[in-house]
Symmetry: C2
Subunit: 135 residues, 2 copies
């Protein structure tokens, strides 16, 4: 169990470094790409929900979204039921960036699982499913 813990930490650490270098190449900041990633994979959402997912305050997010809107990656829309809220989502340009980032991730996944056979991959998937559920 101790060794598994270390392997997880190492995996997380290397994934962080990888993400950092991939993001650097895009020219956008880590926070910006992270925002794009969340909006891309979960769809449009309210400021509050997005802030919670990103682990920042709504005050910080307001400023960030403003920048992303100016960059043409994100757009704001009125919330149907709640006039206090706005829905932020990706523009087509933002969606494109998200797709590009996703392809990078996909390539990484292919690369790092290069030496795993199909049986191992099946077990690995099941493990991740079960682990993700326990957070």
């Amino acid at each position: 169990m101790h060794s598994l813990n270390n392997l997880i930490i190492e995996f997380y650490d290397k994934l962080s470094s990888w993400e950092q270098s991939v993001v650097k190449d895009t020219g956008y900041s880590l926070a910006q790409v992270h925002t794009i990633e969340v909006l891309g994979s979960h769809g449009p959402m309210r400021m509050k929900e997005l802030a919670d997912r990103l682990g920042i305050t709504t005050g910080t997010l307001t400023v960030q979204i403003e920048k992303l809107v100016n960059l043409g990656l994100v757009s704001r829309a009125a919330h149907e039921d709640d006039r206090r809220s706005i829905l932020v989502g990706l523009t087509s340009e933002g969606t494109q960036l998200h797709a590009h980032h996703n392809r990078m991730h996909m390539q990484l996944t292919k690369d790092i699982t290069r030496h795993l056979d199909n049986d191992a991959i099946d077990v690995l998937k099941t493990c991740f499913e079960k682990m993700n559920r326990e957070f």
Copy 2:
């Protein structure tokens, strides 16, 4: 392969959130704890190496280490062979903080693997070993 990719991203995302909330409780910043973590798991090292591992410039690190030294978590020592370099390492207080953080990680590992049997854990370990090698 596509589903595995998503599982990895979700895992990484949840681990990030967990780390963020755990760090918040310590009263130190994420960057500070990350520095402690690297020094704790790899032992004392030079500024340059530490900066590279953390993905920041040495200029940024100089400032950060200064703070950590003032907080009593980190100490500087002369490098034996290279008089340009200094070795930064944890004080006993820093080591204690690292141990505490490690226990948190260990507990998390136990929690999330709660529903995995021994065989699955063995496969999981092997998968992580192989994946970590490919980064």
